[in-house]
Point group: C2
Chain length 542, copies 2
């Protein structure tokens, strides 16, 4: 809509993650003696730190892509954008869940895409899809590779070969409409890159999921991502005004203006489609001015139920902080122990809640006053800025801690769901019980922690973190616990995923989520768009 | 989610609309001599009031439903719930657009459904759909019958017979979850009935479109309705947490909890599906406490662009009144003339804006203060409560005025669109010009008025009202003007409809809205759910 905007590119390159761990090497965490002692005493985790595997020891299944196809792909994209070397294939062999990282430690040959393709334009993505549909090659789209549900696994489906489409070269801000507050970003732009290119114009997207530092705009859209500031700026799907999708059957440009009554909202078929219905190449996103100010306040509540009721009173008032979250008793206690912050201004019991408020001075003051009154009225004790600023400072660190625990012989994994307020406590108990019982029965008693990180007028999300000792076969151990948790979520009326998406890992529950007819509808849409079934086989669609 | 809620039924019966006009007879408007003089002088409308046609003079096409099918339907539903009498068929022969009412004045036999069916349960709707699919009978769902886009026209499609499913017997509040603020209402509950049954529990839905007094929950969902309080409470699609749909291929229950990342949001395929993909029978809706207080403030802006910039500054601040609307210069002037309020506290020039604020005292005070500061800063002059209260008092009256104008020999019709803020002025000019030029070329110069009634951070709706003299063939006259307006909307980048839906009237532009592949996807979904193609033929799907 804006006149002749010249595309802009981030100057900060997208960081490449380690092949066998979350994030970048310089941010790796090491556990203190205090923590390893705690792990040993409480959970029986052997304190022996196993060295991470060496990249040179990893072996991959041979590339199954015929040399003539590689040559034709190089013709299409340029030789440098078709990669079959081991390092490239290894770095696209899956996501970053705990099972993913456990599998990467294996010594037998690992699965990996047969080639990694780096298209540079929407039209190149279209050409690749036509080529792969004609030649019978499965296609896995890849943004930041941060999936924790198997969403980028190199599944071949009915085909002998699978390629991964890495979208990192689609990294431009292609349009900015400052009057309407709409930015059009290409799919490969990462979270920090988006904030950089928008910040130069005084705008911010305000989408800060835990994967922020590595994940991409296309991935956020394809997985219905939700960021830590969702109370203030909405979920990612709320931000999507327009979307461009490349499919084997043609291109789609969906979304006209801020709202429409022109039939079903087809954007909502492709947001959350996880690469099974098309490759998202550009997204028009609602952005907002960089906030003038941020106010912080942490709160202590005597128990989870009281804290949840307090958060509910704020979000149902029609007003909300930018960030609003509540840790349960277990998470509050463990975080305190891990941070070594005993004696600081953190609570030593009960539940910690964090609120932040962003915007203009007047907006921040009004929201802060409103939330403070409501939270105090429902039993909260204000703790000051400290714990809220500490949370913000460390908010992208949890996956590094997870990796350190993994290397120390523990399982550390997360899962999440959402439900109505009236069912929240029931669901939390059901999932906690299922995880605790499953892992205890396997001889590895667990600590199960939970927090609310996303609130809505009608309900909230629940995010669980589980820590226990690794059993002899940790993959089988976690699969059993995960199955128990998923079954408990469905039985207790939760959604199988609030923001991690479906991928491979949640697919067994997808039919219970949408019903048999919902599954048929998804398959009918896929058959119409992708009759050859090349798009991200084995994911999402039941 | 709530325990054993006993269904509750409204005590106020749903009012039946006149067969040949909007609404009920006792609310009919009569034009003053001042207005008829104005119409004659300004637009050349002959002041002769033509008497409305008599119901006894209306003739219908013979019912094409075979007697054995009527008998079988009576077996399914009970004799009283299968109606083939002329009065019932006539009252289901279409919606309430100006062309609908012009057609109802015709003396030749009119089209009408072959029978009107009144199912009382979801399972009866399912049984009817199976029956009609097997027997080859087209099915038109009917709520309040307020469509202004041909959405309830008795189109037969490929079939010889068509029945209308009137959902008025599905009129229960089937569940209320007061903690989560979610009410489950059946499809046939009207706007006032919803407020009545919810109000008894201290809740309100807060959905007040112009059709409020007659339209139903099912219709609101099926057409992506948007109410006058959308700035405060959201569009109807924002309120839908859960939806139950009856289809020939089975039942669907869609929506788990407040938000989910479990794939495409299939609710969004059925919200806005206008009866072409299934019959919505129940909807779980976000509700809010009945507001403690309402504050009102009207504003005057020197021109439309300044007023639009002021509204934009408020909605982009992340704060919004409950109602916020802006009339352009023409609408402001005409409304003033029609109300005879010259010399009152309304502005005599410029553009009138209305704001209202609902909620708790603290919420209202904070929002009022924030909006007042912003609107004044962008050039607004506060006018006090008067014009805002007047607007609220008369806010459901416009269709009655339309009918009076129609009977006085004028055409009065409305159409609407939406776009980004940066394109709003361009779109308003394009549509105004297209309508003015088309009607002038036909020898009937028009007054074209416009207002913004729905605002979003990224854009707003535009609602146009057109008044001119009727030509010899007013149906052809308006069809020409409507075509010019629709083409102008598409060319200028607007959506073909912001809240009236697609129906028959906007279907020619549907493919330009979603693209050829979008059309194919809609047809693929329909083929999967409704292979016989019985559901609301000729509507929506391109």
């Amino acid at each position: 809509m804006s006149d002749a905007f010249v595309p802009e590119f981030p100057t900060t390159p997208a960081p490449a993650m380690e092949w066998d761990a979350w994030g970048v090497a310089e941010s790796r965490r090491h556990l203190s003696a205090q923590v390893t002692d705690l792990l040993q005493q409480a959970l029986g985790v052997s304190a022996e730190q196993s060295p991470p595997p060496a990249e040179a020891d990893a072996t991959l299944r041979e590339s199954a892509l015929a040399p003539n196809l590689v040559a034709e792909l190089r013709e299409l994209l340029g030789a440098d954008n078709v990669r079959t070397d081991t390092a490239s294939r290894l770095r696209h062999s899956g996501g970053k869940s705990t099972p993913d990282l456990l599998r990467r430690k294996a010594t037998e040959p690992q699965d990996a895409p047969d080639a990694v393709l780096l298209p540079g334009t929407h039209n190149e993505v279209m050409a690749l899809l036509r080529f792969c549909a004609a030649e019978g090659v499965a296609v896995v789209p890849f943004g930041g590779g941060t999936s924790v549900v198997g969403g980028v696994d190199p599944v071949r489906g009915r085909y002998a070969a699978v390629v991964t489409l890495d979208l990192r070269r689609l990294d431009a801000l292609v349009d900015l409409d400052p009057v309407s507050g709409v930015a059009t970003l290409q799919a490969g732009v990462t979270g920090p890159q988006a904030e950089q290119v928008l910040g130069a114009h005084g705008f911010s997207l305000g989408h800060f999921p835990q994967s922020f530092q590595f994940a991409t705009i296309g991935g956020f859209a394809a997985t219905r991502s939700s960021g830590q500031a969702s109370a203030g700026y909405g979920r990612f799907d709320d931000m999507v005004e327009w979307i461009r999708v490349a499919t084997p059957a043609g291109s789609l440009d969906l979304g006209r203006g801020p709202a429409s009554a022109a039939g079903p909202d087809l954007r909502e078929l492709f947001v959350g489609s996880e690469g099974t219905l098309g490759i998202i190449t550009e997204v028009g996103l609602r952005v907002h001015p960089v906030p003038e100010r941020t106010a912080y306040q942490a709160w202590s509540f005597p128990d989870f139920e009281t804290g949840a009721a307090a958060l509910r009173s704020v979000v149902q008032s029609g007003s909300a902080p930018t960030v609003m979250r509540l840790s349960d008793e277990a998470e509050t206690g463990i975080n305190l122990a891990l941070s070594g912050d005993i004696g600081g201004d953190s609570p030593t019991a009960g539940c910690l809640a964090i609120t932040t408020f962003e915007g203009t001075d007047a907006h921040v003051d009004a929201r802060y006053a409103e939330a403070t009154t409501l939270l105090a009225a429902v039993g909260g004790t204000a703790l000051g800025e400290g714990p809220a600023k500490s949370w913000e400072h460390g908010r992208f660190d949890a996956p590094y801690l997870r990796d350190a625990l993994l290397n120390a012989g523990a399982i550390a994994e997360t899962l999440e769901t959402a439900t109505r307020w009236s069912n929240l406590s029931n669901l939390r108990t059901a999932v906690t019980t299922a995880l605790t019982e499953s892992l205890t029965a396997q001889g590895t008693p667990a600590i199960v922690m939970c927090h609310i990180s996303h609130t809505y007028p009608t309900g909230a999300s629940l995010y669980f973190t589980v820590v226990c000792a690794q059993a002899a076969d940790p993959l089988a151990q976690w699969a059993t616990a995960k199955r128990a948790a998923g079954d408990a979520i469905v039985a207790a009326g939760g959604t199988i995923t609030h923001h991690h998406a479906v991928g491979v890992d949640h697919r067994p529950w997808m039919e219970s989520e949408v019903g048999p007819l919902g599954g048929r509808i998804l398959r009918a849409v896929k058959d119409a768009i992708d009759p050859a079934g090349i798009l991200n086989p084995g994911k999402l669609i039941p």
